[in-house]
Assembly symmetry: C2
Homo-oligomer: 429 residues x 2
């Protein structure tokens, strides 16, 4: 059979892993794809670097754009990364040249996914991005095809392994964020510049993609409310444990009567829930379909092997002639997103205050909560240190976020409140 000829742009961890997978499992892949899938060309910055893969007989292009024009390339695999610049230029050039594209680039898809899908659809080309979300978990396929018959009400996931590793380690070792981050960087679990991960941007890119598939809407990254994990303290993790929760950075997209709420933020997850038990670098996604019921999937969210597994799954689909629309439906059938502001969210909240231990503090705080119509489910205060700073934890009943925000602004102005209050949303039991 005629091989499907692959050109890979970007030979970092994932690019080298994809080349290795195509070589190691070549026979098995040919059987499943119906024909061989062969690496014929690559492009990367430094030709001399040893990547542990044999590049004999494979065309080297210094310029990634040349892959789109190489007559010996049937499918372009974009593993450069970044939402704009060379990655975007390459994907556009490949589609313009009539070549299917497979990419692991969540930023590109989350920001330019509508335009790129429209171009691919107009050209009658597949555009695969299984590797863009949750690595080794085939969650794109699960949501777009496996649950295609369902009206999805909610998708919630642990979508960033770096954050989950840091939060897990903070809990297990009782240590604070800055030192655990430094350790994670030393171990290679966090980037030298960790901002995209720990500020929630990477998770928000992935959530944008999942929300588009789940709700049949155009990608709308700008509508995602994003908070990272910088402000999570060992103290809050310890209080969470006492209250029966684990703190996780969740990405949540949820249908509400007024539109789709999309948000990435730390959340208190009841320990009895599947997402609470996802530890370390693992990713997981929980999808709620109206007929399927809940479907939960957990696996490795990053790394050479899992990401390569997803890239090559897309290549096999293309070799088999799969014709699934990029976003699960024709572009014309997708709706603009109807985002709901985070201020309209309803839920329970964890509020931790550092206060001076003196009479009347709780009366002042609870009076403000009462004035905003917020009632409390529980309160925690350990020990007594008259005149010293002590933490007080308040757990609210369900309330609207606008109310708790307004209440906190006032609470923060009280003389007895010594630090910016910590607010963490609580997932339903």
């Amino acid at each position: 059979m005629t091989p499907l000829k692959i050109g890979i742009a970007g030979l970092g961890t994932v690019g080298a892993g994809t080349a290795r997978l195509l070589a190691d499992n070549a026979a098995l892949i040919a059987t499943r794809a119906g024909r061989p899938i062969t690496l014929t060309a690559v492009s990367a910055r430094d030709k001399s670097r040893d990547r542990g893969i044999a590049l004999t007989g494979i065309t080297w292009h210094d310029d990634a754009l040349a892959l789109a024009a190489d007559p010996n390339v049937d499918v372009v695999v974009e593993l450069i990364g970044g939402s704009d610049g060379p990655a975007k230029a390459l994907v556009e050039a490949a589609i313009a040249a009539g070549r299917p594209v497979v990419t692991a680039n969540k930023a590109l898809l989350a920001i330019h996914g509508t335009a790129l899908a429209a171009a691919a659809e107009a050209a009658g080309l597949p555009l695969g991005f299984e590797a863009a979300v949750a690595g080794g978990i085939p969650v794109i396929k699960l949501l777009r095809e496996g649950l295609a018959a369902n009206r999805v009400s909610r998708v919630a996931g642990i979508l960033n392994g770096t954050c989950n590793y840091i939060l897990t380690t903070m809990r297990e070792e009782g240590r604070d964020f800055p030192e655990v981050l430094a350790d994670a960087q030393a171990l290679g679990y966090a980037e030298a510049d960790p901002a995209f991960d720990i500020e929630g941007v990477d998770a928000a890119h992935k959530l944008t993609i999942l929300a588009a598939l789940a709700f049949g809407q155009n990608v709308d990254f700008s509508a995602v409310h994003i908070e990272g994990i910088r402000n999570i303290s060992a103290l809050d993790i310890s209080f969470a444990e006492e209250l029966g929760y684990r703190i996780k950075l969740l990405g949540i997209a949820q249908q509400t009567p007024s539109g789709v709420s999309m948000r990435v933020h730390p959340a208190m997850v009841p320990v009895s829930k599947l997402l609470a038990a996802v530890e370390g670098v693992f990713n997981a996604v929980l999808m709620e379909g109206d007929f399927s019921g809940p479907v939960f999937c957990q696996g490795r969210g990053a790394g050479a092997g899992p990401t390569a597994s997803a890239v090559v799954a897309d290549l096999i689909d293309i070799a088999r002639g799969s014709k699934i629309p990029v976003w699960g439906a024709a572009q014309a059938a997708l709706a603009p997103s109807r985002p709901v502001a985070i201020s309209a969210l309803t839920g329970a909240y964890y509020l931790r205050l550092m206060v001076t231990d003196q009479p009347g503090v709780l009366a002042d705080v609870t009076a403000i909560l009462r004035d905003h119509g917020i009632s409390l489910e529980s309160m925690l205060q350990h020990g007594r240190s008259p005149g010293e700073a002590v933490p007080i934890v308040l757990v609210t009943h369900d309330t609207i976020e606008a109310a708790i925000s307004a209440a906190i602004s006032r609470i923060a102005t009280l003389d007895c409140v010594l630090e910016t209050p910590a607010l963490i949303r609580i997932e339903p039991k």
Copy 2:
């Protein structure tokens, strides 16, 4: 767009659920499938029964075979059940008439899957069976497409919700099998004739299908070692808990140097493992790919909604023109199964004996184990009742199953051993 016209044979819980899903989510399904999917004909035994679905304008056939010949049916959905008889006749007739088939029938696929796939392949027709395994979890798609690039080393699953419900309830309520089964039957979680479920046959059908996909082999139901849960006692469940395990009915297909081991049996699962936490009627599957790493998926394994979700996912794939080979590769590329006998299995074992509490019992038992080269990791005996019957629990180090079987045969003949010894395989930590 021209609708895809569907004929459903069998209007039990799943058939009625599928009709309801096609009606309830018609607009969404049309968007995702690229054209409407319309129910045009049905067949069932009793036309007068109220199934809560509108059948106005839908052709009724008293004979299921007539669906295969109905010119107003594009795809035949077989929901009759049973490995032979009318279900098999209908699927064969539909393929012979050039009509794609979607079925939820695990028995049919596990036993006749090779011949049916060959017929479908020869006719160039899809044969969908997502609904045959694990209901609402799209595990067929996950394994066949999502993990297609991987060499799979092991698939392990909780594949029968009835058994898992019974085991969960026995543990939570400390009750024994017969009364929990009776309750499950009263609640509709177990069939009036529960044999297929509780004896492990249903799980073995599903495991046969997963093994064929995972290892690129022909279905080989007869090679699956099958044990059910009838002999699991509340006492063993309680000892399991003490030792840090939960007892689950697992289906396991595993690559070994000498072939693929396929087995369904109760197993002690370490409480730290994901499969140990799957409770009640839920199903779950853990797949190990060489590049993806472990992928775990949990969801509702049965019932009208989840099964209908899977049936309609297959219909959407067919409407989209998907051309995945039935078993993930061309029939000619599938290997015969190379089954490994259970006697060649290596692992740790839980052994519970009811013995007369008298001096020398343990010496006799451990001498036999020593003679068979079996060493012990731990031993449990609670309290003392000289002259009375007491349970002794022995946990072995890894050993070959042939050795433990031989040892037990000898142990069972000791005068001080009062009942057939209970043996439960232990999953690795």
